[in-house]
């Protein structure tokens, strides 16, 4: 019996979200007295033995030309073969772009119940229930899974990476791999240097900035903090910023460690996508802006004065430390 964790990678490196999923899966294995094992499709530059530091004992690695193309239909069948070999009772994905395509498919294939977007360790004392976000972060639900095999997708930034001692055994796995129907013909990187969903710090701005020409100071603040950029919906709708920066109930849901909101009123639909952030800082000239009710720290004032001051104060701090 095992807890099997799917390891996702990009540009030769294992994603941060997968390190979280590995740590999470290893904890579940410890809690249920089983072993944690991982599966990776394709090759990476990272040392797979080191995944043992998160608590996994084995890493099944499937290498095959056909797997260079991500195709959830093909990947699912491969993961199912590994799951069978590993005797997986719980299978973990990250709730990210790959996991969103794979977790439901693998669940169907293995006749497993799925809990998507979980954010805490399961309660296994009586059955199997696990907590997930619902209503775009406005509430949580406990999901009871009744099937023998369970599939979970873990929200990004919801579980702290655990690093200890240990070396995993890397096992080459010979799977039957179908040829993919999907063909990736182009891939582009978005302007931001940090991926929005995985970012520890996010700097976000709204209509209070008046126009796209004023984003320079926001970008500088984000650069200083090593943060990803986000924006409110009207900002993306007006094409001041690209769609992929729109956060909220109908955009991207994020849960960074620090969220800095500049010139955003804090409408309920905006809060829904960002209220899982650990620390929220709001800069708004209107003391009545609803966002202050959801914030940890606030500055009432003009963003055009405060943001540059904040950037230089942070530069000063970083210079000292």
């Amino acid at each position: 019996m095992s807890v099997l964790i799917f390891v996702d990678h990009i540009d030769g490196h294992i994603k941060k979200a997968s390190h979280e999923a590995l740590s999470y899966g290893a904890k579940i294995a410890e809690q249920t007295g089983t072993t944690a094992e991982a599966v990776i499709l394709g090759t990476v530059n990272d040392d797979l033995e080191k995944l043992g530091e998160h608590g996994v004992k084995k890493v099944y690695q499937v290498q095959n030309e056909q797997l260079q193309q991500f195709d959830s239909q093909v990947y699912t069948k491969v993961i199912a073969q590994v799951a069978q070999q590993s005797g997986a009772k719980v299978i973990i994905f990250s709730n990210n772009s790959s996991g969103k395509a794979l977790a439901p498919r693998v669940a169907v294939r293995l006749k497993a119940g799925l809990a998507a977007g979980v954010n805490a360790l399961p309660d296994t004392s009586n059955g199997f229930t696990v907590r997930k976000t619902v209503f775009s972060g406005k509430a949580f639900a406990q999901v009871a899974i009744d099937t023998e095999i369970k599939v979970l997708s873990l929200n990004v930034n919801a579980f702290t990476i655990i690093t200890g001692e240990g070396k995993a055994e890397v096992i080459p796995f010979d799977a039957i791999v179908e040829s993919p129907k999907l063909k990736t013909i182009d891939s582009t990187k978005t302007s931001g240097k940090v991926s929005l969903t995985e970012a520890d710090v996010v700097v976000s701005a709204g209509r209070g900035l008046k126009g796209p020409e004023n984003w320079g100071m926001v970008e500088e603040l984000a650069d200083t903090l090593g943060a990803a950029l986000a924006c409110s919906r009207p900002v993306a709708d007006a094409h001041w910023r690209p769609h992929n920066e729109h956060v909220g109930q109908t955009g991207i849901a994020i849960a960074p460690n620090l969220y800095v909101a500049v010139g955003i009123s804090g409408a309920i639909q905006h809060l829904a996508g960002v209220n899982r952030s650990k620390v929220i800082v709001v800069i708004n000239k209107d003391p009545e802006a609803p966002f202050f009710k959801a914030a940890d720290y606030g500055v009432v004032g003009d963003a055009f004065e405060i943001v540059p001051k904040l950037t230089s104060a942070i530069k000063k701090l970083k210079g000292q430390s």
Binding site: T76, K100, S136, D146, L182, I268, Y297, V299, L317
Partner: protein
């Protein structure tokens, strides 16, 4: 081309989130219902755009729900689409919903099945993937663009820190999100036409549920904001560094 658009009914984005029956049920009293925004703004509108380009396109809408879902599906028909199917069952969880829709999809020989990225209530984001596997079809999640060139679809999808352009032969399943289309408002003609468009009600075949929401909770309230003077931004940085340990 034949397109099936999955439509879900969700509480309005401003609805008060509260629970009843010992926190086991969403409190529906007084709640306004809307078409799940991802289904409406992106899947449905993109399907309509494709039909505007090629009028031979057939668009069917499908929803799993009781009679109370009919105003929602009529509203969707007012935007566009040829006919709607309501599977007369209470939606309980994603696998049940996907299994029920899969039957309609299989029997209708669709080239394209569209879902929203997720519903804004239970945020499963799973129906598209579940459907694709039940039907053994290719699936692309979080699609931001769809072009049709004969028998191939060209789809963009968002990935962490980037975007991919993918080609795939039909039939396929897509989950749609922002970028796919621009939201529309139904016009008077559409609303009138929707009244007479066919809305078929079919009985569900028995399907399994594999999961259950056993309890809901509201997140703990915030402690209250600590305000810092705009003349003392250094103090904000100090607090973020020393107190919150966030920078």
């Amino acid at each position: 081309m034949k397109i099936l658009v999955c439509i879900s009914k969700t509480p309005d984005t401003t609805a008060k989130i509260a629970f009843t029956d010992n926190n086991t049920k969403f409190a529906e009293a007084g709640v306004q219902w809307i078409i799940n925004p991802y289904d409406e703004w992106y899947s449905l509108v993109r399907a309509i755009e494709l039909k505007e380009k090629d009028p031979s396109t057939i668009i069917n809408l499908v929803t799993v729900g009781g009679a109370d879902a009919e105003p929602i599906i009529r509203k969707a028909l007012a935007l566009g689409g040829d006919e709607a199917i309501r599977i007369n069952a209470e939606p309980l969880e994603s696998y049940q919903v996907a299994s029920l829709i899969a039957e309609i999809a299989r029997n209708g020989n669709y080239d394209l099945v569209l879902t929203g990225k997720e519903t804004i209530d239970y945020n499963g984001g799973a129906v598209g993937g579940l459907l694709a596997e039940v039907l053994d079809l290719p699936y692309i999640a979080n699609a931001t663009n769809l072009q049709v060139n004969g028998s191939t679809a060209t789809v963009k999808r968002e990935i962490e820190g980037g975007e991919e352009t993918i080609e795939c032969p039909f039939p396929l399943v897509l989950s749609c999100q922002k970028g796919m289309a621009e939201a529309r408002i139904p016009n008077m003609r559409g609303i009138m036409a929707a009244r007479t468009k066919p809305l078929k009600v079919v009985d569900p075949s028995p399907v399994q549920t594999l999961t259950k929401f056993s309890e809901f909770q509201l997140p703990p309230a915030k402690q209250g904001v600590k305000l810092v003077s705009p003349d003392n931004v250094d103090e904000l940085v100090r607090l973020l560094h020393e107190e919150a340990r966030a920078i």
